[in-house]
Symmetry: C2
Subunit: 412 residues, 2 copies
Amino acid sequence: MAIIVQKFGGTSVADADKIRRAARRVIEKRQAGYQVVVVASARGQQTDELVRDALELNPNPPKREMDQLLSTGEQQTVSLFAMALQAMGYEAISFTGGQIRMMTDGVYSKAQIKSIDAEVIRRELDQDQVVIVAGFQGIDEFGNVTTLGRGGSDTSAVALAAALKAEACEIFTDVDGVYTADPNVFKPAVMLDEISYDEMLEMASLGAGVLHIRSVAFGKRYNVKIRVRNSGNDNPGTIITHEVPQMEGVLVSGATIQKEMAKIGLIGIPNVPGIAAQVFARLAEAKVVVNDIIQTEVSPQKATLSFMVGTSDLQTAKEVAEDLKSELHCESVFVRDDIALVSVIGVGMRSQYGVAEKMFGALAKAKVNIDSITTSEIRISCAVGKEEVEKALEAVCLAFELDKPARQRKPV
Amino acid sequence: MAIIVQKFGGTSVADADKIRRAARRVIEKRQAGYQVVVVASARGQQTDELVRDALELNPNPPKREMDQLLSTGEQQTVSLFAMALQAMGYEAISFTGGQIRMMTDGVYSKAQIKSIDAEVIRRELDQDQVVIVAGFQGIDEFGNVTTLGRGGSDTSAVALAAALKAEACEIFTDVDGVYTADPNVFKPAVMLDEISYDEMLEMASLGAGVLHIRSVAFGKRYNVKIRVRNSGNDNPGTIITHEVPQMEGVLVSGATIQKEMAKIGLIGIPNVPGIAAQVFARLAEAKVVVNDIIQTEVSPQKATLSFMVGTSDLQTAKEVAEDLKSELHCESVFVRDDIALVSVIGVGMRSQYGVAEKMFGALAKAKVNIDSITTSEIRISCAVGKEEVEKALEAVCLAFELDKPARQRKPV
């Protein structure tokens, strides 16, 4: 019998009515002949409340105890979810991460999944049980509770779908699916029927907060079909999968913006091998997440190295840069803290010319000045002034017809 | 190094300030050179809130899921408690029942402890950690979460003290200790410095709600010195232990009342062997808890059998009695539902005459009519009318000088 994994986020299980509504989703799939595994998050604002309780006792709470504490939120949801299903006439059993041996490494608060004991779940499924698993949590080899970090329930769900070879993993959330752009900024954005893992990875890492980025990477690696759906309606949502033929004609699937960015430059660093590696090793040591890196030779002896960081990392990054300035004898450090990024993403651009040109043309026509440009195989990002980024997004979206479903766009 | 187990109930950990106050109790013992194991209950009204959440989804919640749900309350407390201790400069680590392999049978909601892996705890204690254990919970052999029933944290604490051969188990609660009688009813009641396990067992089963009865039985079996203390002050509390020499001179240690009782009688049952066994087997089958049993021969052929039940079991007990009436061809069933029990308890009465006489005399002088009498080796109970039980308690307390510390009472 085919297995479906359904994941319900905190807003989808926030109260008794919402849990019942989620349970009806499960029952629909049972009635359609599927075995169903549910992954659930903590109810509503519960995790935030527990964090607040912890901070009241310890401004710097030990991570092991934090994971022990936060994992209770999901445990409560899954037992309540099982009770709801039983009240509705369906057999159901809940499991914590530990009970299904969701084994992780020992990195509290951002543990990585190593293995899952799918047998426990299969045994229950084969006895007509709906299996409800606490998302976000696992245990390490010593039985300590670990958590996968915020949004980790998505990863739990996709990992379970992979372990169980499920037909699909449905992620229920409070939006209809993945859009060509954030509809709060670009109102005419349209929902995508399908998107590739690679595109979704770029979208997720660039700030489209629909799905936890690790869950997409997991889905890609283990070939799990992920469907993002709205828990409040019956829209089909967006399927995230490997590239499919009909995607080929599409140049650009979506556009994103990232605010709260800053750019730091080291001007006049020695133009010799190994310098960039040294700079980024130091930043990594200070746990600064670096986004885009640009190095340009200004003379045979000197180069300029710049990179983007989130503004939350700016202070630390600046300190590292100042240290490096004296160590490397570079001329100066510059900081621009009013930067934002606008990006277009699409597997189609791999084999097409003119995407960059079209993007720069659209920004020029909208009189948005481009600070710097970085590209990957399926993405082009432009750094622009923070106050212009929404105007930039709109210009780019219209240029690539992201207000229309893919099939209605002009052929490239 | 000697080990102390300290148990804090829900009111003693209800908020951040109370957790910090409890943590200071731990630190005092650490500073005095002890290794400390803490057992904690769910915070304040949390368990009640979770029960309410469950009933909203399922009026008859499955017990496995209920245990899975309720165990989160204690898990939250222990991680918060460990955080508080760490903020105060002491190493601390929390464990769920499962993590220390508190193995129980599989009887959800009232599981019995089978074994504890003390090694996990010893290892942490030897690394200077305060170990904080979630009370009330364990796991069965399949890893399902079980709970020990209301008040089960007391039992967890005493069981841990036994497994660790702790010097003592301190039970912190919201009263100063064990009193000669309920001070809400008999104001001049005095606190006992010491009481024997057997007396405490009788007191607990007769309605003195200070300690969970199973924890006392556990303490007796494994010889754990239990100290009941007030978490809000430094009073020494009451020690529960085996009989000690100074107890010998004391006739009666305390008096209790039990309201909400009913008496059921089967009149004119056949006076042949095996009938009583048959009656009580049927009541046990119907899960009716029977208190006191009185059988009297009224003729060579006929007898009367009566017993006490809690009023919550009255309806079921009445139905069983009616069934038995026709099966056994007895004359009639009578029910008195306005009964209460007043009892005196004391190991001293084992070797002393005159306790019963003194009790009956006191009740007669107070013009309280006695419905029936039952005794055990260390207890005498009189059934009286419900509306007279408080007057009865006062009369009995004064007769046995329970308003004075034992050493000030007149010699027997």
